[in-house]
Amino acid sequence: MAANNIRHALFCAIVTLIISFPILGLSLEAKGVNITLSGAKTSTYVAIVLAAVAVFVFQIFRDTFMGALGKLPNLNPLAGREPMEQNKRVKLESWLLTGIVVFALFWPFLVSRGSVDLATLVLIYIMLALGLNVVVGLAGLLDLGYVAFYAVGAYTFALLSQYTGISFWMALPIGALLAGLTGMILGFPVLRLRGDYLAIVTLGFGEIIRILLNNWTTLTGGPNGIGGIPEPTLFGMEFGRRVKEEGNTSFHETFGIAYSGEHKVIFLYLIALVLAVITALIIRRFMRMPVGRAWEALREDEIAARSLGLSRTAVKLSAFTIGAFFAGFAGTVFASKQGFISPESFVFLESAIILAIVVLGGMGSQLGVILAAIAVTILPELAREFSEYRMLIFGAAMVLMMVWRPQGLLPVRRVQITLNKQG
């Protein structure tokens, strides 16, 4: 046992050395046309060795450490408490949600422009995560290329506005529908795949779309992206200082107030809020409908689902399509918010972040996903000094979650149904 432990710890420490030495300790430098290999500062080597020692010590005491971690829930003051009564809990939850939404409506008028901008981004991530939750959390299909549908939504708006001068409100349904259609088309080839294989193929699809956007320069502008994407209007009123489109009026002139850049930011935030609430409500409804139950049945046991007459094709495609639809929604809002998009906004890391939100929140649980979206988007902003280590902290948080709370922040609670006694 002990000998085994030491051998394992030694192995881990050596792996740490092998991995970190070339990455941190060696650097390639371009001097004119030549590339030279140079070492790093002594302090870096000391740090690498210290890290290896730390890994070694941790691995030796791993069992003790993990055991202690496993006991952590006991420290949770809510752990031992009686579960709340069913209808009481439902009432409390709906009050809480209404409260949050009302608060969110008034909040932007109280804070700085930067905060509102960030909050809009959070809402976009909430939409994305709720959509991906359908595919991964409910239908159990591990999709690593979800960002592709986000890109389709954003680029649909960008291109249509560039070539036809379409408005945000027209682009919103078109972007979502087109993204949904892409979801369905990409769903066909992966119908038979599951688990890891599905993950890898969807990962590939995500990259294909991004590379396509990057290289189809004549249409998409390639890495230069597309700019000048219009902001949403409110019944034909624009939020800019000057009216860009003929026939529109401007918001501040109509209401006879001074122009302020904040109006636009707040308006976008409110649109994102309304769309996020709509997304949450629709998906919540889906979860209580035959289609939502079919998704979950397929996740739970595909063979049993088929034996009861569920068509795998229809169920999977509907999950892909609806998930992609909401990504398209989010993409359109994103394009409008940024005013400029390029393939760089749709890299694999985005897919990973959205997936992390779903997993952190508790697969299938809406409230959990919303909380996780807030946490994952806002925390890195608060800790800007650590931005270099963002991914590291992210990874560590994921590992800790898997050990401590594999079911996510707020695991799903099943809907309770009252039955009338028959006969």
Binding site: I282, R285, F286, M289, P290, V291, R293, A294, E296, A297, E300, D301, I303, A304, A305, R306, S307, L308, G309, L310, S311, R312, R414, V415, Q416, I417, L419, N420, K421, Q422, G423
Partner: protein
């Protein structure tokens, strides 16, 4: 109503089912028995569309159905259970029954989102049907439990209820008594007889243990190493020399 002619299924070099024939009339309980590995489950998998048989015909209500995809077969009114219970374990008991009734529900997404009267009416009917069958198998009080948390015997009964809410014409049960205690087995046998007599369902029953099926079967088919060994009424099977030699003798 169901006729199986000369069914065979080959896995590579192994002929798991070889020339099995059987027929099932309305309101009849027909059993398939045979030792472990005889090919009983494979026959079910061919009938229910999970495998495409390599030979023979399956005729259900006058229509050839061999090779039709599994989900379509269950829509024709032929549903099955599994040798190892297959429930949607993280869904509640009643949700399991609702999944099974998707054909009775209004699955139009727009209607569902809007909650149209037709949608609500059908949803309510499905809930009532679920309640009825839960009560019938004694699980009504557990309706909102996760299916995976039920006791083993309860899971077995839920699986049968889940088939019955689809209102099948033919029910195929794969070793439903496996793992049950004698009292539960007796209850199960009563339930199966009642399905036939009160609900006009035909039943094809796989059993490993022959004595269990003697009481309730109308006819019995014995297969051994994929080949049909004998068929007839329980009385005939009991006195069939081949069966005694191959099957009872070993026990």
């Amino acid at each position: 109503m169901l006729e199986v002619q000369n069914l065979s299924m080959r896995f590579g070099g192994l002929l798991a089912v070889d020339g099995v024939s059987l027929d099932v009339q309305e309101r009849e309980i027909v059993s398939i028995i045979g030792p472990n590995g005889a090919g009983k489950t494979t026959v079910f998998n061919c009938l229910s569309g999970f495998y495409k048989p390599t030979g023979g015909k399956v005729i259900f209500e006058g229509k050839e159905i061999q090779g039709i995809p599994d989900y379509k077969i269950s829509r024709l009114g032929m549903v099955r259970t599994f040798q190892h219970v297959r429930l949607f374990t993280q869904m509640t008991v009643v949700e399991n029954l609702l999944v099974a009734q998707h054909r009775h529900l209004n699955t139009n997404m727009i209607a569902g989102l809007l909650g149209t009267p037709n949608y609500k009416e059908r949803e309510q009917k499905a809930l009532d049907r679920a309640a009825y069958w839960l009560e019938r198998v004694g699980l009504l009080d557990l309706a909102n439990r996760d299916a995976g948390n039920l006791a083993y015997g309860q899971q077995r009964r839920l699986e049968i209820a889940r088939c019955m809410v689809t209102e099948p014409k033919l029910l195929m049960l794969d070793e439903p008594a496996a793992g049950l205690n004698p009292a539960e087995t007796k209850e199960l046998n009563q339930l199966i007889v009642s399905l036939k007599e009160d609900y006009n369902v035909s039943v094809v029953l796989i059993e490993h243990d022959m004595s269990l099926v003697m009481d309730i079967s109308d006819r019995i088919n014995v297969i051994n190493q994929g080949k049909p060994l004998a068929s007839g009424t329980p009385e005939e099977i009991r006195h069939n020399d081949d069966v005694i030699k191959a099957y009872l003798g070993e026990a």
